[in-house]
């Protein structure tokens, strides 16, 4: 199982702050994003998007492990 979180404009676009996704061997962040799009019916690919795996910034080719916390969010604007 993957625990997926959404923040800021991505959270609003998806319409929820989190979802669970089935995990599959060899799954990357990009594959999980496709699963999010399929599950929510919302296209995210045109957006400026960052991903984090277990609280660390990762690129979209990062492989995932069962139980990971995955997050999608727009470029950060803190400070």
């Amino acid at each position: 199982m993957l625990h997926v979180k959404f923040f800021a404009s991505i959270r609003e676009r998806v319409g929820r702050s989190q979802m669970e996704l089935p995990w599959a061997e060899g799954m990357s962040v990009a594959a999980a994003l496709q699963a999010v799009e399929a599950s929510s019916g919302v296209a995210l690919r045109g957006q400026h998007l960052l991903a984090a795996r277990n609280h660390e910034h990762v690129t979209f080719d990062e492989p995932l492990a069962d139980g990971d916390e995955l997050a999608f969010f727009p470029p950060v604007t803190g400070g």
Binding site: A8, L50, G78
Partner: protein, 156 residues
């Protein structure tokens, strides 16, 4: 080194007074506040969202990098989230060092890197409605930068 992510306001003096290493000769601090204007429209308030857990971790990572890069004694980051009105404090970054050059360099490094890596997002509440701040300098300049655009996933 200390990181605080909190909803409530803070008193810069109080947090700075708590720590003063004895070999210290210089303290440089940066306080970011809510401006009452942004581009054309008036800002009534700012909503700051964060990613509990990751935000603290990322701020600590940035602090550790500053400690490796610069000759400093200590550093502190305080960042608020939630609803903030005009001229309210958002963030405090402070650096203690024996010499001022390292203190200035490290403080600037911390706030610059924090702004591009710590998961905080600002939503501006204006008379015309609410809108997410989407200022990504890298996107604007069209240069290679911190985040991947999913529309170029095939290339990466």
């Amino acid at each position: 080194m200390q990181v605080r992510v909190q909803e409530e306001d803070f008193d810069p003096a109080e947090v700075l007074a708590e720590k003063l290493p004895s070999a210290c000769g210089a303290v440089v601090s940066f306080v970011g506040t809510v401006r009452d204007y942004s581009d054309a429209s008036d800002i009534l308030a700012l909503e700051i969202e964060h990613y509990p857990g990751m935000t603290e971790r990322e701020l600590r990572r940035v602090q550790e990098e500053a400690a490796r890069r610069f000759d400093i004694l200590d550093s502190l980051i305080v960042h608020r989230y939630g609803n903030l009105g005009p001229s309210e404090r958002i963030v405090l970054v402070a650096v203690w060092s024996s010499h001022r050059a390292a203190a200035f360099d490290a403080c600037r490094f911390l706030i610059d890197v924090l702004k591009t890596s710590a998961p905080f997002w600002k939503k501006e509440i204006t008379p015309a409605g609410a809108r997410w701040v989407t200022d990504c300098p890298g996107c604007r300049a069209g240069t290679r930068h911190g985040h991947v655009h999913p529309d170029v996933l095939q290339e990466s």
